[in-house]
């Protein structure tokens, strides 16, 4: 299935809007109700969707765009997540023949798998930056509870993103070719 460039821009703009809304939920609404310790990193989920379901040369630039918006809500910045997103995308390219998101369980499992790849990458870079690998376990552990919850939410958000990107929900890896 092919998508026009103008349609892709519209879908991308909607995704950015969706990310902004979800970032506000994570950074303001949930902490206001006492949810402080674990964050729902929706940027990771949206990037995993793009990496798995879109087959296009512009996906790296989209990841960069999403991370730039994310950097407004986090001191993490855009670069760390962009790099992790590229690693996830390359991993998805290698695994795309075996990835079939036909059931909610498969979607959750796949999202959890790619979140692990993401967080291992991010944790390694952080440890490298702060020159302290003793904290690797602690940083990784801090990601786990939030990532599990995000995986549980992933079938719903993937369904929403499938509508935004007009991807057929047959679970195939090559959803859109731009």
């Amino acid at each position: 299935m092919k998508m026009r460039f103008s349609q892709m821009l519209v879908s991308f703009a909607i995704s950015l809007g969706l990310l902004t809304g979800l970032e506000i939920v994570t950074s303001t609404i949930l902490p206001a109700f006492g949810w402080h310790e674990y964050r729902l990193t929706f940027n990771v989920l949206i990037i995993i969707f793009l990496a798995i379901r879109l087959d296009s040369p512009v996906v790296p630039w989209m990841i960069m765009g999403l991370q730039t918006v994310h950097s407004v809500f986090s001191v993490e910045g855009w670069a760390l997540g962009t790099f992790a997103g590229l690693i996830v995308m390359l991993s998805a390219n290698y695994l795309k023949e075996v990835l079939h998101l036909t059931t909610a369980f498969m979607t959750m499992f796949t999202v959890q798998l790619f979140q692990l790849i993401w967080y291992i990458t991010v944790t390694l870079i952080i440890c490298l930056k702060i020159s302290n690998f003793d904290k690797f376990g602690l940083i990784m552990w801090s990601f786990i509870p939030g990532s599990i919850l995000l995986s549980l939410l992933s079938p719903i958000l993937f369904w929403v993103l499938e509508q935004v990107w007009r991807v057929p929900s047959d679970g195939g890896p090559r959803g859109v070719e731009i």
């Binding site: 206001a32 006492g34 960069m64 986090s74 001191v75 993490e76 944790t123």
Partner: protein
């Protein structure tokens, strides 16, 4: 076939370009101090009012609940509080005498080394959306005098320092963050150490040697070295000490004195250039104003009369 090859080439080129940008960005990134880009400033100014509005709505709802619905036992509580006020007033009177004596003695000794600060009150409107960073967003920015590296406190103790600031908003790296290290002194033993965040809303006290007589329950205050935090601000309390079979230092867990779960308002302390301790006197500075007032570095930040 040729088309597929060209598409693959484009993908590789795009991946490489974005990858190089990302690696360069990571190499330039500092996790302990940030400079907001123009894009960041513009988007923050657009999005943060929404965050501020939502934070205020929650506060109003909470206020409605606290002031009108959950007021059972108020009369009993009132009577207890009246007794407490009476006792505290008596304490305050003797403390005031000690404070005046302290000021007189410091002047006598020409004690002019300590930095004075402007106080800017701010409301917490959001938290960092990434797991690995413990950063809060305030509804005051450079327009209100806030500068990067300015210490942030509450009446309970130390919160952190300003990491980056746009015109109307500022991000604060809290002491819960792994990238924030605070020089402290154990109040009872005067032992120096470093406090840093360890993710689960607790901190770790580092570089305390095994023979130091620190105990569970010891209070920690800022040491005033390092050029960011003023001296004498409460940081936390030791809650657990583990002596490993190896190593020269103790493994110490610290609970921050600030309750970050209920953090709503904070005070940003902006250093006043050229100010000295000897110039401070309540009668000279007058009452607290809406935006700022000069106070000594180690004065208790409890009197927060400024409006947010």
């Amino acid at each position: 076939m040729k088309l597929i090859q060209e598409s693959s080439k484009t993908k590789i080129v795009n991946n490489l370009i974005v990858g190089i940008f990302a690696v360069y960005g990571i190499s330039q990134k500092q996790f302990n101090l940030g400079e907001p880009s123009l894009f960041h400033q513009v988007v923050t100014e657009v999005v943060s009012p929404v965050q501020e509005g939502l934070a205020s709505s929650r506060k109003s709802l909470s206020s409605l609940w606290d002031n009108y619905i959950a007021i059972v036992n108020t009369s009993k509580e009132n009577s207890v509080l009246k007794k407490q006020i009476s006792r505290l007033e008596s304490d305050l009177s003797s403390m005031e005498e000690i404070r005046k004596e302290n000021l007189r003695l410091k002047r006598l000794l020409s004690y002019t080394e300590e930095q004075s600060y402007q106080k800017v009150m701010a409301q917490v409107v959001g938290w960092d959306s990434a797991n690995e960073f413990k950063v809060i967003r305030l509804n005051k920015g450079t327009r209100h005098g806030i500068r990067t590296m300015a210490p942030v406190v509450t009446d309970q103790g130390l919160v952190g320092y300003v990491y980056r600031a746009s015109e109307n908003y500022a991000d604060v790296l809290t002491i819960l963050d792994q990238n924030n290290r605070v020089d402290i002194v154990v109040e009872r033993t005067r032992t120096h150490g470093i406090v840093e965040g360890v993710f689960n809303f607790k901190c770790a006290l580092k570089y305390i040697t095994r023979n130091e007589p620190v105990e569970v329950g010891d209070k920690l205050i800022t040491a005033g070295v390092g050029g960011i935090y003023p001296k004498g601000v409460k940081v936390g309390m030791i809650t657990d000490i583990t002596k490993e079979n190896f190593g020269m230092t103790l493994s110490i867990e610290v609970v921050p004195s600030v309750d970050f779960d209920k953090l709503e308002e904070v005070m940003v302390m902006i250093p006043v250039e050229g100010s000295v301790q000897a110039s401070f006197s309540p009668s000279e500075t007058g009452p607290l104003t809406n935006s700022a007032v000069v106070v000594p570095a180690n004065a208790a930040p409890a009197s927060q009369e400024t409006k947010i």
